[in-house]
C-alpha cells in the first residue's frame, strides 16, 4: 500500500511547509478552488524590480497532493524570474513531484500551479 508519492519529503511539505503563511504586502494574489473535492489554495507573491519572485506564500485546505505540490512549487520558484515561472508547464510540476499522476490526481497536483500562473499572469501578460 506504500506509495512513493506520499514519501516523507512530500508529507513534510504537507504538514510543515515553510511556505505556508501570509505576506505583509503581496504584489499579487490568487484564490482557486477545485470544486470536485473542495480543495482550496490561496497564493501570494512579491516580485522585485528585477522581475524576480522574491517570496511566495500559500494557504489552503485539501489533499496532500494539492497542498504539497503548491509548497514544492513555491520552493522551486522563489528567486526565479516571472518569465521562468510562467513558462513552467504541467509536465514540470509532475517532474518536481517526482511521480506520474493519473488524470484525476492531476487536477489536485496542478491547483497550486494554476493559482501561481493566474497570480502572475497580469504582470507577464505581454509574454503569454
Amino acid at each position: 500500500m506504500d506509495d512513493p508519492l506520499y514519501r516523507e519529503e512530500i508529507l513534510d511539505h504537507y504538514y510543515s511547509s515553510p511556505y505556508r503563511g501570509r505576506i505583509e504586502r503581496p504584489d499579487c494574489v490568487c484564490d482557486l478552488e477545485n470544486p470536485f473535492c473542495g480543495d482550496q489554495i490561496h497564493v501570494e507573491l512579491t516580485v522585485g524590480d528585477d522581475d524576480r519572485i522574491k517570496e511566495i506564500r500559500f494557504d489552503g485546505k485539501g489533499c496532500v497532493i494539492s497542498q504539497a505540490s503548491t509548497s514544492v512549487l513555491a520552493e522551486h520558484l522563489e528567486g526565479a524570474s516571472v518569465e521562468e515561472a510562467l513558462k513552467l508547464g504541467p509536465a514540470d510540476v509532475v517532474k518536481l513531484l517526482g511521480m506520474p499522476l493519473t488524470p484525476t490526481r492531476m487536477k489536485c497536483g496542478l491547483l497550486g500551479w494554476k493559482a501561481i500562473q493566474q497570480a502572475l499572469k497580469p504582470r507577464g501578460a505581454a509574454t503569454v
Binding site: 500500500m1 516523507e8 473542495g38 489533499c63 497532493i65
Partner: protein
C-alpha cells in the same frame, strides 16, 4: 447462471457462486494485488450473462429495431421489446408502454422535469426535493423552476441526518406543492427515505411523486404499481446492466398528456413539411435509434435479478452493512456520515477519516486493490449541510464479503500510520 444462486428461501446466499458470475472479482488489479470493489454505488459490476447478451446482440443480430422485416431486425426488435417487458414485470407494471428507455436516470428525470414540468407548473407552484438528493434529482428541477417560476423546496434532514416527515409535512402548508421528487436511497449515506409514506401523503395532497430509484433498485425491488408512484427512474448500469441505458416509468395518463422532448425518427406517426403527429407510447418519447444492445443487456440484468433469492440477498447485504458499521466504526478517527444505526439504510457507508483527505484515502486504498469513491458524490447540498466539501464512500453489493470489509478496515488503519506526521 442465475439459477446457481437460488438456494431456497431461508438458506444463505452462496456468495462464492455469485462472485464467480462477475468477471473482475478475484482478478489482480496490479501484480499481487487483487480487486476489492466497494464502488457499486457509482456503477455495479456486470455478470457474465449481461456481457454475453450484449456480445450476442452485437455479433449475431446487430440490426436496427422497429419496422425491419428481415430476420436480424425481427430478432433485435423482439429482444429489445422483450427487455421492456422484463423491466415491466420486475417493477410490477402491467403496461410496458409506460416504460421509456433513456440513457439513464439523469435523462429520465430531465424528461419529467422538462415535459411534465412545462405542462403542469405555474408561477408559485412548488417542487419538493430533499437534502439527500443527487444532482440528477436537483439540477433538472432548478432549471424548470427557473423557467416556469416555480419554487424548489427542500425537506430538511433531522439532526441525525434522517428524512424528516414533519419537515416534509410543513412544506405542504400553503397547498402549492405539485411535485415531490425523492431518492429511494441516498447515494452518500445509504439512508432510505420512507417512500411509502412520502407517496401516500403526497398523492393525498394532490402532488405527483417521482422516485429516483438509481441507488435503491440494486438492493430492493420497487413495486411501482403497488406504491402508486407517478414516475420512477433508474439506470441499468447500477443494477448490473450496461451503461448507455436507463428507464423512466410514467403513468399512462401523464405520459399521454406530456409533449415529447426529443424530435426525430420513431417518435412520429407522420411528418409533413411543417408539422408532425406524435407516435403512441412508448415511442413518442424514444426519438431515433435507441440503445439497442444496451436495453437487451438490461433485460439480461433483470433476468439475473429475477433469478436471485431476494430475501437471501437482503440478509447478506444487511450482514455486510452491519459488519461495516462495526469494524470500520472501530477504526480510530473513522466517522460515519448519517446515523450510526444501520436500521433503514442500504449497504452504503459515507465517511471521513480524521486528518485525512478523502482523495488521499482513496488513492492510497487503491494501492491495496480497494476501490472506493472520494468527492462530493454529486450531492453538494448534502455536503454543504454536513459542512464538509468531500467525503469517502464504500458501497457494497451482493458480491461483497465481510472479509473484504475487514481488509478495508485494516487498510484504513495503516493509512493513518502512513500519513502520520513524522
Amino acid at each position: 447462471m442465475a439459477d446457481a444462486v437460488v438456494s431456497g428461501v431461508g438458506a444463505g446466499l452462496d456468495v462464492e457462486r455469485v462472485r464467480a458470475d462477475f468477471p473482475p472479482l478475484g482478478e489482480e488489479v496490479r501484480p499481487g494485488v487483487s480487486l476489492r470493489y466497494f464502488d457499486s454505488a457509482a456503477t455495479a459490476l456486470k455478470p457474465r450473462s449481461v456481457i454475453e447478451a450484449v456480445r450476442e446482440c452485437m455479433a449475431e443480430y446487430p440490426a436496427n429495431v422497429h419496422r425491419g422485416l428481415h430476420v436480424l431486425s425481427e430478432r433485435a426488435t423482439e429482444a429489445f421489446e422483450g427487455a421492456r417487458m422484463k423491466v415491466a414485470a420486475y417493477l410490477g407494471v402491467d403496461d410496458p408502454a409506460q416504460l421509456i428507455f433513456t440513457r439513464g436516470t439523469t435523462e429520465a428525470i430531465n424528461l419529467v422535469a422538462r415535459s411534465w414540468g412545462k405542462l403542469s407548473l405555474r408561477p408559485g407552484d412548488a417542487i419538493v426535493v430533499s437534502e439527500l438528493e443527487h444532482h440528477a434529482n436537483l439540477v433538472p428541477w432548478q432549471m424548470i423552476a427557473r423557467e416556469t417560476g416555480a419554487e424548489l423546496r427542500y425537506v430538511e434532514l433531522t439532526e441525525e441526518l434522517e428524512y424528516d416527515l414533519d419537515a416534509f409535512d410543513r412544506l405542504f402548508d400553503d397547498g402549492r406543492v405539485r411535485m415531490v421528487a425523492t431518492t429511494g436511497m441516498s447515494n452518500v449515506t445509504g439512508i432510505r427515505p420512507p417512500i411509502e409514506e412520502i407517496v401516500r401523503r403526497s398523492r393525498e395532497r394532490g402532488a405527483r411523486v417521482l422516485i429516483d430509484a438509481a441507488q435503491s433498485l440494486a438492493h430492493e425491488r420497487l413495486d411501482v404499481a403497488g406504491l402508486g408512484v407517478d414516475f420512477a427512474a433508474f439506470s441499468a448500469h447500477k443494477v448490473f446492466g450496461p451503461t448507455g441505458v436507463g428507464v423512466l416509468y410514467g403513468r399512462r395518463e401523464h405520459l399521454e398528456a406530456m409533449e415529447p422532448v426529443l424530435g426525430g425518427g420513431n417518435m412520429v406517426l407522420r411528418v409533413e413539411r411543417h408539422r408532425a403527429v406524435w407516435n403512441e407510447l412508448p415511442d413518442k418519447f424514444e426519438a431515433g435509434t435507441p440503445p439497442i444492445a444496451e436495453a437487451i443487456g438490461l433485460g439480461a440484468a433483470v433476468d439475473y435479478l429475477e433469478g436471485l433469492d431476494h430475501q437471501a440477498v437482503a440478509r447478506h447485504e444487511r450482514a455486510l452493512i452491519e459488519h461495516a458499521h462495526q469494524v470500520l466504526g472501530a477504526v480510530e478517527g473513522f466517522r460515519i456520515l448519517g446515523p450510526r444505526s444501520t436500521a433503514g439504510k442500504g449497504p452504503i457507508v459515507g465517511f471521513t477519516l480524521d486528518g485525512t483527505h478523502p482523495h488521499d484515502l482513496s488513492h492510497l486504498l487503491d494501492r491495496s486493490g480497494v476501490a472506493i469513491r472520494a468527492g462530493h458524490h454529486c450531492a453538494m447540498p448534502l455536503h454543504a449541510r454536513l459542512g464538509i466539501p468531500a467525503s469517502a464512500r464504500a458501497s457494497f453489493a451482493l458480491y461483497n464479503t465481510t472479509e473484504e470489509i475487514d481488509h478495508l478496515a485494516g487498510a484504513l488503519g495503516s493509512i493513518k500510520g502512513l500519513l502520520r506526521r513524522r
